[in-house]
Amino acid sequence: MLLRVERLAMNFGGLKAVDDVDLDVPDGEITAVIGPNGAGKSTFFNVVSGFCKPSAGRVALDGVDIAGLPPHRIARLGVARTFQTTKLFPEAEVLDNVIVGRRLHTRSNVFDAVLRTKRLRTEAAECRERAKAALAFAGVLHLESEPVGSISQEACKRVAIALALVSEPRLLLLDEPAAGINEEETSGLTALIRKVVESGVAVCLVEHKMRMVMDLSDRIVVLNQGKKIAEGTPAEIRQDPTVIDAYLGGSSHA
């Protein structure tokens, strides 16, 4: 089991954003976390990726406890993520964005930089190569010289995924990757995500677009008001009355 979350709790003042949640993310699979708004999905991601210190519970990556570690340490242990409002480094070109994503694999320091050591030059070249490869994987290599401010939403999301992938993570957390893009773009992204898993990276995604979730996921976990209310395969979840109830009686469409 790649990621094992046990009895996770996250309290903000009196609000239990995440309440006693158990969740497993197996290697080589796509696990989706769904739930109505305010269910605690993003908070869950923030805890796993280190942006929030959990109030209680355990988060183990390959057996190693990562709960409460700072984000950069968790990234170095192999967890990468994208953000709900797609985050890229503004005022920079696409390639420059992704190059820096490889930094955690480099050891060059101040002295290397000033003395222009071989290590610096080798690592710099390697970062560039890997960045290009990641962009190619995500299908956006042709945009490498564009400033990120000028590319489309969908392209941004692909670049964000490339940025997350360039560090060769073992687990990729995708926070609403399909928000704000149309159907065609969504299926493109779905294909990309499948490619990611096939390349050996486990994926955990939070998403509202049900069809995408049903298509992609191997397993689905449903949260509501901080608690886990259901877990299973897409077929099981689709018919689970508690889940349907949680979505206010509406059947899962789109």
Binding site: P71, H72, K87, A92, D96, S108, A113, V114, S145, S167
Partner: protein
């Protein structure tokens, strides 16, 4: 090295001009103005490391400049320490101070960081002024000697000191350039552009800020040492908020996050101030609105106008 051709030629030409300058210009006053500009520019490069590349406004820069100058000045004038020892000691001390202050200051960002560093700058001056026995209080310290000779080289003359300081300026520019145009520089810029995202991709933002802050303090200290040695004197005004403000003006006019910006801005503004010496009283009155205009309409300064600021990161080795 991976300079594009044109850049390499340009830099060589500038370097040549700088080297030849004191030999062809027969005006010692002008030469010393240029030297003071060089010295201040070193500290401005330090300010740029923090502001231009890491995105934080450190208002303690003048204070560190003063600490460097006073440390060296006291060692050399009061304790007869050789310049060649006093310099590294002073720079080390300023860096250490920067590190210590950073431990507290860098727990904050943005406005709180600016306020805190402003307070640090003010406190440094107050301490300098109060510690009269050591620093000479508000009168300052006179009698800082010229650097002692090394082998056949003597540093008593204006020309020799010009080259000595030019040497340190070139080293400074090289260090800043080589750092910023490398993976290390990319880290700084990433943290500047989005600290949260930088953390998410494995960058230790705290350590990055610390490194930038210590470096900027070290450069300010270096500038301070050379200033004290060149003038033979150091006073509390050199460590004050006004000094920080002037450095900020030079940097913003020259252009943040650019190779030439800090030097260009410093030379240009000090040059203008010399030319307009008759209006010296109105200096602050004029520079204030100029800074406001620059920040509103030309935030990337002159270098930005020439498109150089961004170029640093375009498709080269680092």
């Amino acid at each position: 090295m991976e300079f594009p051709r044109a850049r390499g030629v340009g830099v060589s030409l500038l370097l040549l001009t700088a080297i030849v300058f004191p030999l062809i210009v027969d005006n010692p006053y002008l030469v010393s103005v240029v030297v003071t500009a060089y010295v201040t520019a070193i500290a401005v490069y330090g300010l740029d490391v923090m502001l231009g590349y890491t995105g934080q406004l450190s208002l303690a820069q003048g204070g560190f400049f003063g600490v460097g100058g006073y440390t060296a000045g006291i060692l050399m004038a009061s304790y007869d320490v050789s310049f060649w020892i006093a310099l590294p000691v002073a720079v080390a001390m300023t860096s250490a101070l920067g590190y210590l202050i950073g431990l507290a200051a860098l727990r904050t960002r943005g406005d709180y960081f600016a306020i805190f560093t402003l307070a640090v700058g003010v406190m440094i001056v107050i301490i300098i002024e109060r510690w009269e026995d050591v620093t000479g209080g508000t009168d300052g310290l006179i009698g800082v000697p010229a650097p002692s000779g090394v082998g056949p080289l003597q540093f008593d003359s204006l020309t020799a000191q010009y080259y000595l300081i030019l040497f340190f300026l070139v080293v400074t520019i090289y260090v800043v350039w080589s750092l910023m145009d490398s993976l290390v520089g990319r880290t700084f810029v990433a943290v500047r552009n989005s600290e949260e995202l930088a953390r998410a991709v494995g960058i230790d933002a705290g350590r990055t800020h610390q490194l930038a802050f210590v470096l900027s303090a070290a450069l300010a200290g270096l500038g301070g040492v050379l200033y004290a040695v060149f003038l033979g004197y150091i006073g509390p005004a050199m460590g004050g908020v006004q000094m920080t403000f002037m450095m900020l003006v030079y940097l913003m006019i020259g252009g943040v996050a650019s190779l030439a910006g800090p030097l260009l801005g410093t030379l240009l503004v000090t040059g203008l101030m010399q030319v307009l010496q008759a209006f010296a009283e109105y200096q602050m009155m004029a520079l204030g609105p100029i800074l406001v205009v620059v920040i509103i309409f030309f935030p990337h300064g002159l270098a930005g106008l020439a498109g150089h600021a961004k170029r640093l990161f375009q498709r080269r080795g680092g």
